[in-house]
Subunit: 449 residues, 2 copies
């Protein structure tokens, strides 16, 4: 189990799982087609006999397997009572699966990043304890009784709300991804960061709950003819302010909930902005003020930071939408395949423009592509989990995924993106990620044109 | 904020939120219609002016509000670094929102229930730390390296899998509710349990990840002609075994993941069965064996327990599907409305037969009903969040919700259910729940015919 929790060894499926008949099919049709057929039949619940499995090492002999032959202590003793932990915690055996700071990435840890361990995630929901962190001056556990939200600017009646005020208003819940604009930023140049936790780990996905921004704007009597831009201001010491165009207003939530409970302190407790499809810096944490204005504010964090340098040295500004992107999380950099056979390739896709329409996967560095299975529900501006069966024959391979969203936009190759954007950017790298599988099974991050 | 975390006071929306024009509408059309119209317009993003709000106590004067006038400590000091807690925890201000045992419900706490605090949940996802618990002999934190799953019985080749074997197989992720068959059991008789945590708190909802049961049955060469029933056996000391009809097999998952991470120890780590729509006892935890047979097993926990006594003294057996049900979680028993005005009535609906089609809410004990708003996504055998606006005029009220699922089944009144099932059951009470609001604002559990 340890190998799942950190980059390490991952074994193939049991030997018997690649059956004699499948091996014949592989010989006839190539590596992958028969396996897909097998799975389709399985999922449709076809009758037995489709997998004439060999008698593998895991058939019931179980000779010498103490886990089978001896009673385990958990079967012969009284366990822990209910509510032993009124707020539950993960197993002691999962202690390696944690958020990790990249040492040296920033000068101080209060203005840094803790990356989410994508290599250990399942499905699309990010557990709250493993949501990525990005702070500009550290996090506080704010007393909600002392927190206020002000709405001012081009409104008839400026307002100040307490948390109790807000939480009695009509609430909505929506599942959305949040990605830092700088996610995958190291890959612009020639640095190939070793693991998916560090290449793509500024990414999470939750069910967020709060009051629609429109309800508050209505309440304050917003002037929607003159008011074209919103300023969102955070309550921490970093003077975080961001301009948000009012075209995005209909989907914005002033949120207090994530995955059914209150926001975590490091994610903005008790109040943050949720701006679906937009880079995380605009999801202002510890939200204390919204001001409606008639032009962009050119705040510190949208002029000095969060701008994209292009080859002629100019800076692209207000590039806030996170374009369509995907990444394979298993197998991924730093892991180790321990033998030929069946593997379930799995990963995540998302788009700031809407739903994911399709994800293709290549195991030969982009020459051939197969369409992956998407896990329902496929929601707008939300992570989508994809899976693809793969029988590895032991030769070197390069694994890639390529997402297409409902607008028809296709995730670009790294070379395509660099041709337009150069190599000096930090933000908004949504290129196809390549994981190289060596003949020995080692998986590593490579830059492929 | 404290009142949300435990039964207590909940305040109405700010005074100004019920505007002069809304008050006029209320006079014209009754209590609720204009508010619904207001919301519809808001959510559709209509132009300003729909809420001609009065200058209420929260307009920007803010005289004497130290939270506005004085800099808060979190704005003037450096905060905690990233990864201060590599696995995150809730705010210190949320310590009251926990799972709770009902003292005296069982003789020992190792064979008892910890109820989930539904009154504090948002949306449909249950955070893993607050998932309800029901154990028969306590919980253990099993070493996954020593855990095995055996498949035997009417199969060509019995199998034994390690966790590593299983986790390399093709995985699926699905969002489903899980409800103990005994949830709401106290309400069969004349006991009206005071809060929603204790009436309905044996209910949770997660995104579960694992391998489809069909893949394992195929792998073992299951005899699907003779094999009509599955026996699921848990690895703890309670000898938990349950019969599952093979008609349900297509949706069953052998699961290791909940909400993106590994199962929690108290929820079956490292492996449990997910049987969508079926009572929780069949979602066998610490799953160690699946045996395919040709008839039901009549195990201890399906003959002595988990049977329903009907009026003539006979016992209904194998009543495993959780029928369509709903409950209002805010306002709910033990809470206190602190004044007239706008409230967001919110609750949960679910059905073991499929999707929720509609939820109706009554504020007058079932004489009049209005259709609530359902929060997307509405998924099969999954919780669905509903909301309804309500302007309370201060008179006594009885709040009810009534769910209808996609089969057309309508959640019954308590009297209807008792007419068929009597009052001596423990399990499978899906009656409409009534919360009485007294003139003073106290909310309490009442049994209404």
């Amino acid at each position: 189990m340890q190998e799942r929790n950190r980059p390490g060894r991952i074994a193939p499926a049991p030997e018997h799982f690649v059956s004699a008949s499948l091996q014949q099919d592989i010989g006839r049709h190539g590596l992958d087609a028969p396996r897909r057929d097998f799975l389709r039949k399985s999922f449709l619940g076809a009758a037995a006999g489709i997998a004439a499995v060999t008698a593998g090492r895991h058939a019931l002999a179980a000779e010498g397997d103490p886990a089978i032959l001896q009673p385990q202590p958990w079967a012969t003793s009284l366990g822990q009572p209910v509510a032993a932990r009124p707020y539950g915690q993960p197993s002691e055996h999962e202690k390696n699966l944690v958020r990790r700071e990249s040492p040296g990435l920033t000068r101080v840890s209060a203005a840094s990043v803790a990356f989410a361990p994508l290599q250990g995630f399942f499905g699309i929901i990010t557990p709250n304890g493993l949501h990525f962190e990005r702070h500009h001056q550290g996090w506080h556990d704010i007393d909600p009784a002392r927190h206020r939200l002000m709405i001012n600017g081009l409104v008839r009646t400026p307002r100040v709300y307490t948390m109790d005020d807000l939480m009695r208003l009509p609430a909505v819940s929506r599942m959305h991804f949040i990605e830092c604009g700088a996610n995958t930023g190291m890959e612009w140049g020639n640095v190939a960061v070793p693991t998916v936790q560090y290449t793509h780990g500024m990414l999470s996905c939750c069910e967020f709950t709060g009051v629609p921004l429109r309800v508050l704007l209505d309440d304050a009597g917003a002037d929607l003819r003159r008011g074209r831009y919103l300023l969102a201001e955070g309550g921490d010491g970093s003077s975080m302010t961001r301009t948000i165009p009012m075209e995005l207003a209909d989907e914005i939530i002033v949120a207090w909930g994530m995955n059914g409970e209150m926001l975590r302190p490091e994610n903005g407790y008790p109040l943050r902005l949720v701006v679906p499809g937009v880079q995380g810096v605009s999801w202002v944490k510890w939200l204390r003020r919204l001001e409606l204005g008639d032009q962009p504010w050119n705040a510190k964090d949208e002029t000095i930071h969060y701008v994209d340098m292009v080859p002629d040295g100019r800076l692209r500004q207000y590039t806030s939408i996170q374009e369509c992107k995907s990444v394979i999380t298993t197998p991924s950099g730093g892991q180790q395949l321990v033998g030929n056979g069946f593997y379930n390739i799995s990963g995540l896709a998302w788009s700031g423009r809407g739903r994911i329409r399709q994800v293709d996967v290549s195991t030969d560095g982009g020459r051939n592509w197969r369409t992956a299975r998407l896990e329902a529900p496929v929601l707008s501006k939300c992570l989508t989990r994809f899976s693809l069966d793969w029988v590895w024959d032991g030769s070197p391979a390069i694994l890639q995924s390529r997402a297409i969203d409902e607008t028809g936009y296709v995730q670009p190759k790294l070379a395509q993106l660099r041709a337009v954007r150069g190599t000096r950017s930090i933000y908004h790298n949504n290129a196809i990620q390549s994981w190289q599988v060596a003949a020995g099974g080692e998986v590593s991050n490579v830059h492929v044109d």
